[in-house]
């Protein structure tokens, strides 16, 4: 079943159009990877879906049009974003960062606390540093924190904006394992944008190639990997 | 498409317009002191002084992006330099003008030291504090021997006497009667001269290489530094110049009124805000902005000065202002300040350019020359 679908999604900054009509789909339980170089419009796609920038076109989530919804309504609906470049709250403690992730939830403080402890079990390093300022964490830890924070809103769809950025390959690998595990165990659907094709392709159900604001190719990881031109031009292996 | 007037920059029509405008200005300047009423001459003289002060602020803000709420202090330095030199040391009043200029330049340079390290609202804060300190400093007991504290100083003006010569021009007497019966036209001319001087200094700075580097600083400090603009020196000198030019009208006001007190409006923070209002209303970042701003400001303030009495308010606006027994000038300009930021961030001059651009197309000369209409406009960002 389709969870998220965009049709002719355009967005930009002032006079500059970055996305020139994007059609993508994320089905329930999938990990969809969007690959693209710097400036292709990956972050813009994420921000447009999350509603933090002006956008045109259709964005459907669970069959409802959300292109006019406010960011908080979108989060409440179950889409959470892990922003690019570890967008944590550096002055806040790790635990407070995670509590902020649960901001839209209307249930009791006790159940928020229960979730907090649950994710601390999944990310034991965050548990160790729960009282530390987020800004003092290492890059990998901050990225984990950003994911954990997004999970605190109990999303159905997780948008990950270049989680590997600036991280060592080993840490990136660990991170992707976590994402795969969340997908498998929790049934979390994921839309992940990356430059790092190699690692991301392995776990992708489907892949989109984004180039200067347009989708230029799509298909399963195997299909795209089999196409020589695409492989050489975009995937670099 | 509606018919548009097309003017070639540097062409015959362009020169005709320039000549007509210049002739109109000269005619007005001659008409005011010779045929205008005494109160009109007074209003225009005060406006001229405000013009100079606002121009000095404009140089700083419009071209370096630095904000000052302390220019009342520099105005005050002008006032007190003249007052002290005249009353304590017996100098001739007009000799004190260059001295006031120099003193304010040095103080401005000193104040700009922290300004070199901070920017934006912090500089505004420092200068606001300076504006508040100045009147307090004048009243400081330790310095009362010089400034006479809050009682102020008397007899600081120019002495008109029977010995002063009179001048006539084709039977007119545009300079006023220097023997003391009517000296208003005389001060009018001094005021005009001062505005011309300040205008030329500003224009010189703006059009020079320094001026272009100033705009570079305002738009992007880092880029300017990379291009080899010496930020510290340029900013310091501009701040000093700005302060110095603001001292001139202060000096003149001491000469003109003959008495000074530390609590008069232009010497307190209210003065700084007045200069700011004039600059913003006229149009920040344009050389003509303060001129328009000062004229509009002074006329509205004087026109509404007696509106504290509801019967004096013209019928159409009476319901708006009759509820209060305080003159509405301050409120009007406060609202103007806020509304202008929404609808016309470049003030009257900016509005004028917008209007002209709707009906007139100026065909620019080849690169390297300037066009008629856009000549004194600042770039669209501030």
């Amino acid at each position: 079943m389709t969870l998220l679908r965009t049709q002719g999604l355009t967005a930009g900054y002032g006079p500059l159009t970055v996305l020139e009509g994007i059609d993508i789909e994320v089905n329930e339980g999938e990990i969809v990877v969007m690959l693209g170089a710097n400036g292709a419009g990956k972050t813009t796609t994420m921000r447009a879906i999350s509603g933090v920038m002006p956008r045109q076109g259709i964005i459907e989530y669970e069959g409802r049009a959300i292109q006019k919804a406010s960011p908080d309504a979108i989060v409440r609906g179950g889409i959470a974003q892990v922003p690019q470049g570890r967008g944590t709250f550096p002055e806040l403690s790790v635990a407070d960062n995670m509590r902020a992730g649960a901001y839209v939830r209307r249930d009791s403080a006790a159940s928020v606390q229960a979730d907090l402890e649950k994710w601390f079990e999944v990310f034991p390093r965050l548990a160790e540093r729960h009282a530390q300022r987020a800004g003092s964490l290492s890059g990998g830890e901050q990225q984990m924190l950003a994911i954990a924070r997004a999970l605190m809103s109990r999303p159905k769809l997780l948008l990950c904006d270049e989680p590997s950025m600036g991280l060592a390959p080993l840490i990136t690998q660990e991170l992707f394992h976590v994402i795969e595990r969340l997908n498998r165990d929790e049934g979390l659907s994921v839309l992940l944008v990356e430059q790092n094709a190699n690692l991301a392709m392995h776990m992708a159900s489907r892949v989109y190639l984004l180039e200067t604001g347009r989708i230029v190719a799509s298909g399963s990881a195997a299909e795209l990997g089999a196409d020589d031109t695409i492989r050489k031009a975009y995937l670099g292996f | 498409m509606s018919a548009r007037i097309i003017i070639k920059s540097g062409g015959r029509a362009s020169w005709a317009i320039r000549a007509a405008a210049a002739a109109a200005v000269v005619a007005l300047l001659l008409w005011i002191p010779t045929r205008g009423s005494d109160s009109l001459i007074d209003t225009c003289t005060t406006a001229a002084m405000l013009m100079a002060a606002a121009m000095s602020l404009n140089l700083l803000l419009g071209y370096t992006g630095q904000i000052s709420l302390g220019h009342s202090a520099f105005f005050g330095i002008g006032v007190y330099t003249t007052a002290i030199a005249v009353t304590r040391w017996g100098w001739s009043p007009f000799v004190t003008l260059p001295v006031a200029f120099a003193v304010a330049f040095v103080v401005g340079l000193l104040v700009s030291l922290p300004a070199l390290r901070i920017k934006g609202v912090y500089l505004a804060l420092v200068t606001l504090a300076l504006g508040l300190v100045f009147p307090a400093f004048i009243k400081w007991p330790k310095i009362e021997w010089l400034t006479n504290g809050s009682r102020g100083l008397d007899q600081t003006g120019f002495k008109f006497s029977k010995d002063n010569p009179t001048y006539e021009l084709f039977g007119w007497n545009p300079w006023g009667n220097l023997r003391g019966q009517n000296v208003k036209p005389f001060y009018f001319w001094v005021g005009v001269l001062m505005v011309v001087f300040v205008y030329l200094v500003c224009r010189g700075v703006v059009k020079s290489r320094v001026g272009r580097s100033l705009v570079a600083i305002r738009d992007n400090s880092t880029a300017a530094a990379v291009m080899g603009v010496n930020l510290a020196v340029t900013k310091g000198i501009v701040f000093g110049l700005s302060a110095a030019m603001c001292a001139l009208p202060g000096s003149l006001s001491a000469i003109r009124t003959g008495t000074v007190t530390p609590d008069s409006a232009l010497l307190t923070v209210a003065g700084s805000i007045t200069f700011l209002v004039i600059m913003v209303v006229g149009g920040s970042g344009s050389l003509w902005g303060p001129v328009m701003g000062a004229i509009v400001y002074q006329f509205i303030i004087e026109r509404t000065g007696d509106w504290s009495d509801p019967d004096k308010i013209p019928g159409a606006v009476r319901p708006l202002f009759s509820w209060s027994d305080v003159a509405p000038g301050g409120g009007i300009f406060a609202m103007a300040l806020i509304l202008l930021m929404f609808f016309a961030p470049f003030g009257i001059v900016g509005l004028w350019h917008k209007l002209v651009a709707k009906v007139v197309t100026v065909v620019p000369k080849p690169a390297g020359t300037t066009s008629l209409v856009r000549e004194e406009t600042a770039p669209a960002e501030s």
Binding site: Y103 | V121, V126
Partner: protein
């Protein structure tokens, strides 16, 4: 020693008022990065409404609460109607708008309540003194180590500590506080976790103005000369306090405010000849200059201050 203690406590009391206004400045600065030049005038307008409620016979405690509500509405409305739309244009425009508010409110005070000192018999005031929250008779004092400590000073100091504690709890243990800290820390991420940043900023301005209103009332109760220029200098003292403590640190604002109050009172007390009442503002000026030159981020601030 007794004299020192007395001056210390009086300085702390005065500093408490600066701390209240500085807290408002810091709350707004953290949220939006703007310095609200109208903070003092918002406080004065609210203070005048407290006087007005007093004229209508409202008991002082309730009048002060109502005045704080007026302040809250004034601050929140300023943010929503003026600052938010204009901040998209340029920081300069926001600066001019706050200066415009400064001027407008100051003019309104005069236009509504007359230009004179309040309460005034000419204006037909029923109250003989400006309403004061705390006992303010000359004999309301107690003695500690030979120092005469007025109840008023004591209460003001206690008040700012209570307000500080309430704010601490608000910031650290409520959802609104968490949202305020998140917005101050990273506004984009705050939006991404579903915080309505616009609502938070509105509340920030409202709370800031309400605290300022309280500071204004307390200060008006301290001085005998309540007039339109009451807040000019207090604003500079509060700014000095915020600069000293660090513009993004609420705790710093309190420490900064108390320090400025104490420095001023000790300076005015021990170097009367040099400082006196007139040059107290000079002390604030020097503090601002020194802090910005030596440590622009203040004592407790993070180094976010823009340097050239």
């Amino acid at each position: 020693m007794a004299l020192f203690l007395q001056r210390l406590v009086d300085g702390l009391a005065e500093g408490s008022i600066y701390a209240l206004l500085a807290l408002g400045l810091v709350i707004i600065y953290r949220g939006t990065g703007h310095l609200n030049f109208a903070q003092g005038e918002m406080a004065l307008f609210s203070t005048y409404t407290v006087y007005q409620f007093g004229e209508w016979g409202v008991p002082i405690g309730i009048a002060v609460l109502l005045g704080m509500c007026v302040g809250f509405v004034l601050g929140a409305a300023t943010e929503v109607v003026l600052v938010r739309p204009i901040s998209k244009k340029s920081p300069f425009a926001v600066f001019i708008v706050t200066i415009g508010m400064f001027q407008l409110l100051n003019w309104l005070d005069g236009a509504i309540w007359g230009g004179q000192q309040l309460p005034s018999t000419a204006m037909g005031s029923k109250q003989v003194k400006f309403p004061s929250l705390f006992p303010s008779n000359p004999d309301d004092y107690f003695t500690v180590f030979g120092a005469a400590i007025t109840w008023r000073s004591f209460c003001i100091l206690a008040l700012v500590l209570v307000i500080g504690a309430v704010l601490y709890l608000l910031f650290n243990y409520t959802k609104l506080g968490l949202a305020m800290r998140a917005v101050a820390s990273n506004s984009e991420s705050a939006k991404l976790v579903g915080i309505r940043t616009s609502t938070v900023l509105m509340f920030s301005w409202g709370i800031a103005a309400a605290i300022g209103a309280l500071g204004g009332v307390v200060f008006a109760g301290l001085t005998t000369n309540v007039n339109q220029s009451l807040m000019f200098q207090v604003f500079i003292y509060a700014s000095a306090a915020a600069t000293l403590g660090g513009f993004d640190s609420p705790g710093g604002a309190v420490v900064g405010g108390l320090s400025i109050g104490v420095i001023q009172n000790l300076a005015a007390g021990y170097a009367d000849e040099w400082v006196g009442q007139e040059m107290k503002v000079g002390v604030a000026f020097l503090v601002i200059l020194a802090v910005l030159l030596l440590r622009p981020s203040g004592l407790f601030g993070t180094s976010k201050v823009e340097r050239v």
